[in-house]
């Protein structure tokens, strides 16, 4: 695999574990030992690991709130401009001002939800740095089982304690430890 310039020669050290429990233990231990630049890989989300490794603030809820409110406001403003300002038409004797707001609530709500849902989806994808079809971890042998039935912990080269990573992983019960190349 091609090597990236101006970066450490390796991406990190990857340890493979045979069960979610083993991985969870390893992660807890690594965290306790002070490893920070690390990531776990599993075929399904494991709550304890996510809480340990994942960012405290995922950023998604904030996005959803902001976009939801913007969408709702946009929906309401669009309707009020159309119905009251741009071309006010007498429709069944209904008031042509804010008094008649209830009729505009459904669309306001839907616009808010739509916008929020887009924010949640694309916020998650974007913040996760996806799409990234290429990633160094894919170079690890046996990593294709990470989406099936294998559990991995990768300590990245940028971690200050990277030097002892390999030893730590073996000690933590990894069945296999490999170097992750760029």
């Amino acid at each position: 695999m091609a090597t990236m310039k101006a970066q450490p020669a390796v991406y990190g050290i990857m340890g493979e574990f045979d069960s979610p429990e083993a991985l969870t233990k390893a992660v807890h231990r690594a965290h306790k030992l002070g490893y920070r630049k690390m990531d776990a890989f599993s075929p399904f989300p494991i709550e304890e690991i996510n809480e340990t490794i994942g960012p405290h603030d995922t950023g998604v809820p904030r996005l959803v709130l902001i976009f939801g409110l913007l969408g709702a406001a946009g929906g309401f403003i669009l309707q009020s401009i159309a119905a009251w300002i741009d071309y006010p038409i007498n429709i069944g004797g209904r008031a042509l001002n804010i008094i008649a707001w209830p009729a505009f609530i459904p669309i306001t709500f839907e616009a808010g939800v739509l916008s929020a849902a887009f924010a949640a989806t694309f916020g998650m994808i974007g913040l996760n740095g996806l799409p990234s079809p290429y990633h160094p971890v894919f170079n690890v042998p046996g990593f294709d089982r990470a989406s099936q039935d294998a559990f991995f912990l990768c300590i990245e080269a940028t971690d200050p304690m990277f030097g002892g990573a390999s030893g730590f992983l073996r000690q933590a019960g990894a069945v296999r430890v490999s170097v992750v190349e760029h």
Binding site: I89, N90, I91, G92, G93, R94, I99
Partner: protein, 1026 residues
Amino acid sequence: MTTNSNNTSLDLNAIRARLSGSQGQQLWRSLDELADTDEFRELVEREFPQGAAEMTDPVSRRTFLKLMGASLALAGISGCTYQPRQYIAPYANAPAGWVPNVPVFYASTFVLNGYGSGVLVKSLESRPIKIEGNAAHPASLGATDVFAQASLLTMYDPDRSQLVLKNGQASTWEDFTAELQNALSVQETSQGAGLRILTETVTSPTMADQLNQLLTTYPRAKWYQYEPVNRTNSHKGAQLAFGEDVDTLYDFSQTKVVVSLDADFMSPGPGYVPYSRAFTNGRKVSEEHREMNRLYVVESTPSTTGATADHRIPLQAHKIDSFARTLAQRLGVGSAAGAEFTEHEEKMLDVIARDLEEHRGANVVLVGEHQPPELHALVHAINDALGNVGSTVNYIEPVEVRPADHYVDIADLTSEINAGLVEMLVIIGGNPVFNAPADLRFDEQLESVNFSVHLSLYVDETSSLATWHIPAAHFLESWSDARAFDGTASLVQPLIEPLYAGKTVHEIFAEMLGQSDQSNYEIVQTYWQSQLDAPFEEAWHNALSLGLFDGTASPVKTVTLQGSAVGEFVASESEGIEVVFRPDPSIWDGSFANNGWLQELPKPQTKLTWDNAALMSPHTAIGVLGLNIADPNNPTINDYEGLALSNGQMIDLDYRGGKLRIPVWITPGMPEDSITLYLGYGRSKAGRVGDGVGFNTYALRTSDAPWFGSGAEVTNAGERYSLVSTQDHWILEDRDASIYRVGNLKEFAHDPEYLKHEIHHEEFGDAEHEQFSLHPNAVYKYNAWGVVINLNACNGCNVCVIACQAENNIPVVGKAQVAVGREMHWLRIDRYYSGDFDNPATYLQPMACYQCEQAPCEVVCPVAATNHDREGINNMVYNRCVGTKYCSNNCPYKVRRFNFIQYTDIESPSLKLMYNPDVTVRNRGVMEKCTYCVQRISAARIEAKERAVQQGDPEYIIEDGAIVMACEAACPTEAITFGDLNNPESRVSKLRAEPINYGVLTELNTKPRTTYLARINNPNAELETE
């Protein structure tokens, strides 16, 4: 270039101005030039191949429409706003004073059964596009009947005959005249011994003059008249009563009591509009005017007149004679009939007699044309005895040129043909092969005549058996004249050159008289030149602009009653079931069979369209069809509802040697053991619209019993037929207070507000109740249009429906579409029965878009295609409509109409000429509805605005009455009033302030702009308890 250059434009608004106005214009030039071009001919012939009506596989127009819809659909998808290149073809030489796109009105005369009534024809760019009544004409008073309105469509009918035919083969006028001259030269030698002329009823002075000349030239020739609907019985009755021919005129304006003996004086016929109007004016009540006349109707078929009655007695037609005789006897005329009546009928007789006695000289007794001459004579005697003659009943010289017994005439002609006496037969109009009495077998006889000519609008049943067929000119294409019911001579004036080179009767007669150099116009003008003594030019102009010759009404005649007037009562045999014939309310005697507007017009009582049926009462149907009803003597409402499902059951009628299989239509209010058959259906050569529609009831009609007779054998044929009506439900389901309010005069006179109180009390428990709304009250600062419909004036005659159809380009959808509930009439007349189904009260309610101020339809439209304008009209914007149909669902009145498929014929070139250019022609997929004739409002507003700005007036004013909706204009009884609600002085504002004014379903808070004046009946106090 035409020589018919004397024509005067007629402006509705200023009668004076039009006299001094333009002259010598040829306003229909562009079109007739178009029609004369070879291209147009070719187009017409390609589109409507001659003999299309004879195709063995008739492509009905409805199928046609469907196919067209398909081709259009794709066009609709591709062609949005990118328009194809169009061309403008201006006049080469515009007529002086011509203003483009501004309609002009011409006065003319519509003729039905010989009797004329004045019309004003709206012409735009030389095309007649709408027929209105002529207010200056005594028979019109500004209104029309359904046939006058619909005759516009007949003129443009692409199925009309377009070629001279000899034995069915295309020929030419020149060939015809040559052969005609040959035949005549033979006749000359025998003084016309072999020449017979058969016409319909003739009142036309010009035609009379020509006939006179013909009979002088050929002294041994004979002139016969036959028409299935005629006034033979009246004339014979007058002969019996007075020994001379007189016509009767009624003056309803002062009557207090009217007794109609099977007389449907509020349906088309001589005097229709003036009688309806005068009678109805006597029934319009208001807070100030708390009086009205009273109408008793004894009738054999439910009619518009019967629906208006305060008391109605259904009676078999043959029993009406004895009823009248018993009544006469109680009034001191003649002797009792010796017939037996039910208790109720006896009481009615007493009460009617007393009521008549109490109002001597202020009542009218009428008898229907269908009743025998003896009864007519008796009624003359009754009116005489009641002192009505000279006040409410007047006699005039007969209007007809020669009052004839049509049945005798046609019978004589047939026997003469049979005897080989007829060598040459000229049939002017009519369709005797189809409608002559069945026992005469006229069709078989006609074929044996060597030289027969038939002049008619269509290649019909008679034309196809005659040697020669000559296409006739429509009245909108002809110069002619006719007399009205009161004798007024009226002028028929063309609006357009004959579309299909039709000829008028005058041209045929002129040809026969060797005066072929005279044009149609010259013939009529020459005749009148000899009649008018004043400076001719001025009198002629006057006639052209008014549509009539002033002072030509027949003078009142004094008559003396003959002793023989009160004849002896002859007990008529009354075995079996009685059969009654009536001209069809929609297509009359069959001559309008190819008129889609009329075919689709729901008949006033039955709401049937596209068919005729055997009308019978529920009880009769139970017997005839052998229905299984638990207690036939006391059927429940559910039984009747179930009965309605028997509509369309076929029966076999065996009557006087004729046999007919016809479906049943159960009609509440029919007398027992009686069947009414409408004439005119079952045409085989009417055209693509009328062919094969309905059942030919002429097959049962014989010359000795043209209107009714007993002894019909009826059997259930065990088949079903699909009859289509626009309203299946009979009753109001206890919704009277919301929908149709009825009160009576006595209580109204006591307290005009009583109905309101009663209903409010019933509904809300207190007398006053203000509707509460969360929505702001919209302010209408300009005009606020509104309509009030007087239910006391509406008799359901349908003229408004047809007028609306003509004005607003409303398409005809065909039977199959009506069957699934897709009729397109913007204005419909709802009919409800109330009370006893053997003799129910019939409620009729015209209903169109109410222009609700808080319209439920508007709120639900997702594209704002229907919304309110600042004059309070619910605007339906066709081009914005995407067709969700939600508006119709949410309309509590269901007055919206949807183009489910492509209904409008936008292919036929002649129909394209007919459409009102001021109203969008709707294509498939859009909703439509009444607009209060917004094109008329718009025109009036623009005119008022322009006038105001030109005169520097600060504001424009639209006078009350300056805008007249099409339905309003056509209404014979002036039941509909349109106007500005913001103007407290307008008629509509005043009507709306009446205590009996109410809106339909106002509890829904729709705030309708159209409201009704409740129906007020005037029942006799003695009968009220029942």
